[in-house]
Amino acid sequence: MSNQQVKNLAVIAVLILIAVIVPRSGSFVVLLATRALTFAILAMSLDILLGFTGLASLGQAAYFGIGAYLTAILASKFHFGLGWDFWLVTVLGMFAGAALAAFFGLFAIRASGVYFLMITLALGQCVWGLAYRWNSLTGGDNGINLTGGRPQFGLDLSNEVTWFYLVLAFFTAALILLYVLVRSPFGRSLAGIRERELRMQILGYNTWLHKYIAFIIAGAFGGLAGVLWAHTNGHVSPETVVLTTSVDALLMVVLGGAGTLVGGAIGAAIVFGLREYLSTLVPWWQYVLGGVYVLTILYLPSGLMGIPARVRQWWTQQGKDKEPEKLASVPSS
């Protein structure tokens, strides 16, 4: 078995373990896992940009938000998406995320590095501003309650465990799709752009178009995560699209390991675990979160997923001079 196959089997084993263990661990853990899985999809969508294309976005919450607000507005104002048409809403949510990304991408993709970070921040703030102030549509500061409950179509999704399984299924599907994407020739070209965009241009690739498409795909999956979040939370407010949500997503990806897909999921699990579980135990949980994060950036630039490689490197290179390590996924300028 190749190295990659072992890794894939490990991921499958962990997913099965999650499916078996979580429903037996009480309602609090089920809720926690559902939330973490929703954010894991958002984190993976961001990883397509940060880890695989080398674009650090600080506005991923915009696509998350448009998916969530679309779901909430359709459900509360039109009673749409509360039966079989829920599937239609998930597709619409992905389309909305993709369409918004297609529009924003026209502005953002021109920039790179820190400028990309700032322009995505500005675009994300535009969406937040609308959500916060456009009272007649978004309910302003109060947001929208999904009073109709979760969709019903044979499956009783108001049951937390059933809903958890559905979210897990969506997460697995997203993971597989994105995995296929990053292993495809298109995904390889993204990695090429990440490593050295100029070289890819000289090789004849239209790097702008490649980055633009990656941006749209990331937006679509962000929208999907938003749809699921609206039903998980039962409430959508400007908090969903606020800058800190984008920052959270970035934190999850970096914590778990950029450019690994599952790293984002691990990051989401840790952030939600620390934030919602540890916070019930100790009041200083955020120091732990911040501390873990700072230490990861300083000493583990490749994230938690980089630990096995570090151990192996240490094992084989013991005694030799260590090469200085850089954040593998990020261009240095």
Binding site: F107, A111, L117, L130, R133, L251, L327
Partner: protein
Amino acid sequence: MNTQFWVIQAFNGISYGALLFLVGSGLSLIFGVMRIVNLAHGSYFLLGGYIAISVIAGTGSWALSIPVAALGVAIVGLLMERVFLRPLGFDPLRQVLLTVGFAFLFQQAALDIWGGNNMDINPASELSTSVVIGGIYFPAYRMFMIGLALLIGVGLWLAMEKTRMGAMVRATVDDAQMARGVGIDTNRISMFIFALGAFLAAVGGVIGGAFLGVYPGLDFEMLPLAFAVVIIGGMGSLGGAAIGALLVGLADNFGKALFPEISYFTLYAPMALILAVKPTGLFGRE
């Protein structure tokens, strides 16, 4: 909507712009010298306000609270740059991500020390009066804000244009590699500028605390506004920050008064457009 409306809104916008200049100019200088976006800059603003509250509670002197808070936060910034950002070398993205971690740590620390309530800073009583000009009431405090920002702005401008240190900073902004080549210690420059940026943000926090209040979450509310200033004005440019702050202050005030439903949109959409068309900002150096 008579003249009075326009005069008052313009005055409010300009005074808000004065506050934004204090926050934005530091962020702009840090970006210019170090090429990093300091996402903990809003936290400096917040910490400045909180420290001032403690100083006022301890000594009763509002005037004393400004320098104490500013120096305190400058030391925090200095330590952060020396101990954490500098060892990462020239790796802007990791440095940016690191400042996020600190923003969270500062948020928690502030919550632990000062609690989650909305607090107020009461300035000296001489400033809580109003001045009547042409039948319109102008709060003295807002006039003081404009005056202070002008004073600091002119001081910074003189320091940048007329002193040797300022020339070294400008050289580093233009081309850090070249500056190192001619023997400028860019390492020391970036330490100095980072501390200065934190200092200015904290002054802003104390000044702004009197009419914005000081509360958890203010840090991430100020951060995007400071960004807007820097981006519109151009990164690393002091004059640009002044014009950017003025534009953002006016856009924010008039936006909220004229089209409340899309007021933030009218602020951030131009910012995104400017970035897309001219990434270095309207007055930034190429």
